[in-house]
């Protein structure tokens, strides 16, 4: 998303885009199954991130989905013909440039297409360091993959040039939204309470009869945390970078201290992943209650953190 804005002449770093979209979150959704394991998200779904940025920066983003593959590809070609950069939601499995071990049927992968040469599309993908090329056939398959969170060829593009807004006001709104999602979402599966709910699910694994299956569950949590997006403690570090940049841009220094605290929480998430991996490798005994205790500890720290962050925001607004 950040690179989409940069293309339109608004220099907005990835952490700023992430933070202003109030993208940080936590959700444990056991009723959405990926290979029989629950969906655990450490941020908002990409569609929501784009929409939130759209609202605060007034970008006039248009989303389109398609019933027919031919129509979806024709529309993409037409938009590229107009010189637009187009965002796509795809499955990560059918993209040939992704390393084979990372190719799972995960349908909420986002990438940008910025041009076409014959039957090859020029793609900027967050997973690849460099721009890559993707054949038409593969891209079509990836865009029209089926299953959970099917993309249905979804594409999006900007219809207006973005205007730099009033950072302080936008940021205050964004901070309020994130604090609200983390602390006060009515659903117990979202925010800090979602972490506790996950802790309970992990604790129950000690009663599981099939230990290999229980270990897969734990491994799945870590994969959702570290592998999606930039990875690194489920986006906590990126949000920390947002707070620092915000402090520098607006001169409200109190945010710097909060960034430091969030980095420590990110370290806790990594320690959790580290302990889990050791159990999977059987270097230490598999003890679900120990992992659950770590998660509860993180939940308590995040609760205090977002509470204090919200207080800092109120003091700033006043």
């Amino acid at each position: 998303m950040s690179s989409l804005l940069r293309h339109h002449g608004l220099a907005l770093s990835e952490p700023m885009a992430f933070g202003l979209a109030s993208a940080l979150a936590f959700a444990y959704l056991p009723f959405i199954r990926l290979n029989g394991l629950p969906l655990i998200a450490y941020r908002m779904p990409p569609g929501a991130i784009v929409r939130a940025l759209d609202r605060s920066l007034e970008l006039g983003v248009r989303f389109e989905t398609f019933r027919s593959r031919a129509a979806g590809m024709a529309r993409l070609d037409a938009l590229l013909g107009e010189g637009k950069v187009v965002g796509l939601q795809t499955s990560i499995y059918w993209l040939p440039y992704i390393p084979p071990d990372l190719r799972f049927h995960f349908n909420a992968h986002n990438l940008l297409v910025y041009g076409r040469e014959g039957d090859e599309y020029l793609v900027s993908d967050p997973v690849a360091e460099m721009p890559v090329r993707c054949a038409r056939q593969d891209l079509e398959k990836a865009r029209f993959a089926t299953g959970v969170l099917a993309p249905k060829g979804r594409l999006y593009y900007l219809t207006r040039a973005p205007l730099p807004g009033d950072w302080a006001r936008l940021a205050q709104r964004a901070l309020a939204r994130t604090a609200h999602v983390m602390l006060h979402t009515p659903l117990p599966l979202v925010g800090v309470r979602g972490i506790r709910w996950l802790a309970r699910a992990v604790e129950r694994l000690s009663r599981a009869e099939d230990e290999a299956r229980a270990l897969l569950y734990v491994g799945h949590i870590v994969r959702m945390q570290e592998e999606i997006g930039t990875g690194g403690a489920g986006f906590r570090f990126m949000y920390g970078a947002f707070l620092q940049e915000l402090a520098a841009r607006t001169g409200y220094g109190a945010l710097d201290a909060h960034a430091g605290r969030l980095v420590e929480i990110g370290d806790d998430w990594q320690q959790f992943a580290f302990a889990a991996a050791k159990m999977i490798k059987r270097r230490i005994a598999f003890e679900p209650p120990a992992l659950a205790a770590r998660l509860r500890d993180i939940a308590a720290r995040e609760q205090r953190f977002f509470h204090d962050l919200n207080k800092a925001r109120l003091a700033w607004a006043a």
Binding site: F104, E129, A277
Partner: protein, 123 residues
């Protein structure tokens, strides 16, 4: 995570790609550091891949084998091929699959991204 703590252990599953992570630099600022991978990620990715490989090895029929090879389960294959789950489950049995018309086999082949002839055997 400080910059010098950014894991550079070389995660084989990244296939040589490097990954952007945010880490604290000398001046206390968070910025992007390229990571060659973390052992933890490698462990969990390999675990998931190996589980699918094991299921593929234990498959009772070529269709089941190719399903796990394509990293799918019954629900995903059913959605991708546009065939009800209970029928997919039935078709996983070699006897049921042998009686399928080419039309249906082609849908499975298309959904799994393999040539039609490959569905007949485990390779």
């Amino acid at each position: 995570m400080r910059k010098r703590d950014v894991p550079q252990e070389g995660n084989a599953t990244l296939g040589g790609h490097r990954k952007a992570v945010y880490a604290v630099g000398e001046d206390g600022k968070l910025r992007i550091v390229r990571s060659r991978g973390w052992e933890v990620e490698e462990v969990v990715t390999r675990q998931a891949v190996e589980d699918l490989e094991r299921r593929a090895r234990e498959a009772r029929s070529p269709l089941e084998y190719h399903m796990y090879r394509a990293r799918m389960d019954v629900a995903m294959l059913a959605a991708a091929a546009g065939i009800w789950r209970w029928r997919v489950r039935r078709h996983l049995r070699p006897q049921a699959f042998a009686r399928l018309p080419v039309r249906l086999r082609r849908r499975y082949a298309e959904a799994l991204g393999v040539p039609l002839a490959a569905l007949e055997r485990i390779d």
